[in-house]
């Protein structure tokens, strides 16, 4: 709160003080009051005015200044009232009460949305679980009647399955409190599982898959990691090039303080200008526009899941040549004790 603005704001009051002070002095002189008494009155009058202004200014300043500075410092600004003392002057009390009411109504409003969003997420999760039953039946049917069924049925079914799974993980990846369990997992087991799940598609499309040096333990959640790897492998399959023998290489680096898993492919790669935004939600980029339909959600979910699990995920690529996605797992000696 600035003094000059404060004074400027009360200019009528100040002018009234001056006019009345001067007027009284003149009247006293006109009635031939003792000069010394006039002086005494003038001094007392000025003191009264100053006292009045200073007292009013300081008590208001202490309230408004802390209101402003707390608001600036807080990252959840709507909580500012909780940090303030009740003001001791009437205008302040009005303001305080008013902000309080506004705040409260907004909180209730937000809560309503939050609840309806949570209800929706719960429903979505339940729906996915229900939808998995017929998918499971169909997958088994395809497997049981392999000779009669066209292979394309199973292929489309696996796509449907993958998209359904993606919804589930999307719902989960955005609230960090989702249930996951970090324990020691062998990378080669995870990789083999994911490879077998995609076996038919890989063989059908004649894609070479090479797995090297993955017999390493990492601290992660098995199921989430499987989903992540599945997503990366299916991306590699999706964005392969038609003019070369497609290849996917999965290998790991065992470093002193971390383990880095790479999923490398010789697909069509990513244009350099898209790389920085590739993990953004709904970002489809050039590949999504020009070649295969893309939702722009896969890598976003991968990134979020990795963040929740405490891994980092990075992507490097040369357009038209290769793409390399690497996931870094921290090594924690403390967990082994």
């Amino acid at each position: 709160m600035k003094l000059n603005r404060y004074l400027k704001d009360r200019w009528i009051e100040l002018i009234a003080y001056i006019i009345f002070g001067v007027l009284i002095c003149f009247l006293m002189l006109a009635f031939a009051v003792n000069d010394e008494l006039v002086w005494l009155f003038a001094v007392l009058y000025i003191m009264l005015v100053l006292f009045n202004l200073i007292w009013d200014f300081t008590r208001k300043r202490s309230f408004y200044d802390s209101l402003i500075s707390h608001t600036e410092q807080l990252d959840k600004k709507y909580l500012v009232l909780e940090t303030l003392e009740q003001p001791q002057f009437y205008e302040g009390e009005l303001l305080y009460q008013n902000i309080y009411d506004v705040n409260k109504s907004m909180c209730e409003h937000v809560k309503e949305y939050q609840e309806s969003l949570n209800d929706f997420k719960d429903y979505l999760e339940m729906w996915v679980h229900e939808a998995k039953l017929p998918i499971a039946s169909l997958l088994l049917m395809c497997h049981n009647n392999k000779d009669m069924m066209d292979k394309r049925f199973a292929e489309q079914l696996r796509r449907l399955d993958a998209y359904t799974e993606q919804v589930l993980y999307y719902v989960r990846c955005e609230h960090a409190e989702s249930d996951y369990l970090i324990k020691e997992n062998m990378l080669n087991k995870l990789v083999a599982k994911v490879a077998i799940q995609n076996k038919d598609d890989l063989l059908e499309n004649n894609i070479d898959i090479r797995v090297e040096n993955v017999k390493l333990p990492v601290m992660t959640d098995g199921k989430w990691m499987e989903f992540i790897l599945n997503q990366l492998v299916s991306n590699s399959m999706k964005y392969r090039r038609a003019d070369v023998q497609s290849q996917i290489r999965i290998y790991a680096e065992d470093l002193a303080d971390r383990t880095v898993l790479h999923v490398w492919d010789n697909g069509r790669g990513i244009v350099a200008s898209d790389i920085s935004r590739i993990f953004e939600k709904s970002f489809t980029g050039e590949n999504g526009r020009t070649h295969v339909k893309s939702t722009g959600m896969g890598l976003y979910i991968v990134k979020q899941l990795c963040r929740n699990l405490g891994h980092t995920v990075e992507i490097a690529s040369v357009q038209g040549e290769w793409t390399d996605v690497s996931i870094t797992f921290a090594k924690n000696d403390f967990l082994k004790m």
């Binding site: 039953l133 997958l139 088994l140 996951y180 077998i196 063989l203």
Partner: protein, 225 residues
Amino acid sequence: MEQMKRILIVEDDEGVRRELEALLQNAGYEAIVLQDFMNSKAEILRVNPDLVLLDINIPGLNGEMLLHELRKDSQVPVIMVTSKTSEVDEVLSMSYGADDYITKPYNPTLLLLRVGAILKRVGSAGVAQSQTYRDLKVNAAKGILARGEEELFLTKNEMIIFQHLLDKRNSIVSRDDLMTDLWDNDEFVNDNTLTVNISRLRAKLADFGYEDAIETRKKQGYILI
């Protein structure tokens, strides 16, 4: 021939149950479906299966509680099956003594792999049986088939294939099953490599005096005689 392993399916979804039954029967197991969910535990004990596939969301007692009860009287291997992918369920199931935990929709190949793995583990517990093929002693760990002093060395892939054919001796093994087994052992071969591996294995066996040990059944797979 060895007696068929008996697997009990505890699953309340009609469609899944029917297909699961067919899947297990095709894979050479005797599949039985639990009918009475109100007396699940008594039913399981009565059927006395070699393995139970137990869904968590079943009427009556839920799967986890059923497992808890079951463990008081029986150590039969149990694989929990669920459509929920919640870690809480998994931890709870494991602590109640489940042998494995699979989420729907299960990949049929993976499901069969897990079933096979658990039955094998239970079956081989205690007895380290050494397998033989005709007059050949099989040393799977070293990849050696031995006849007296003579030894035949197989590569890792050839051994996996031979072992699989031997386990299912006299019945047809599909290329897909062989492929899955190889992939499960971290050998991610393609169709050509599988063909090459099988013909090499054949040639090696032929050199050793076993012509036509492996027969090809058109469109079905291979069979070890």
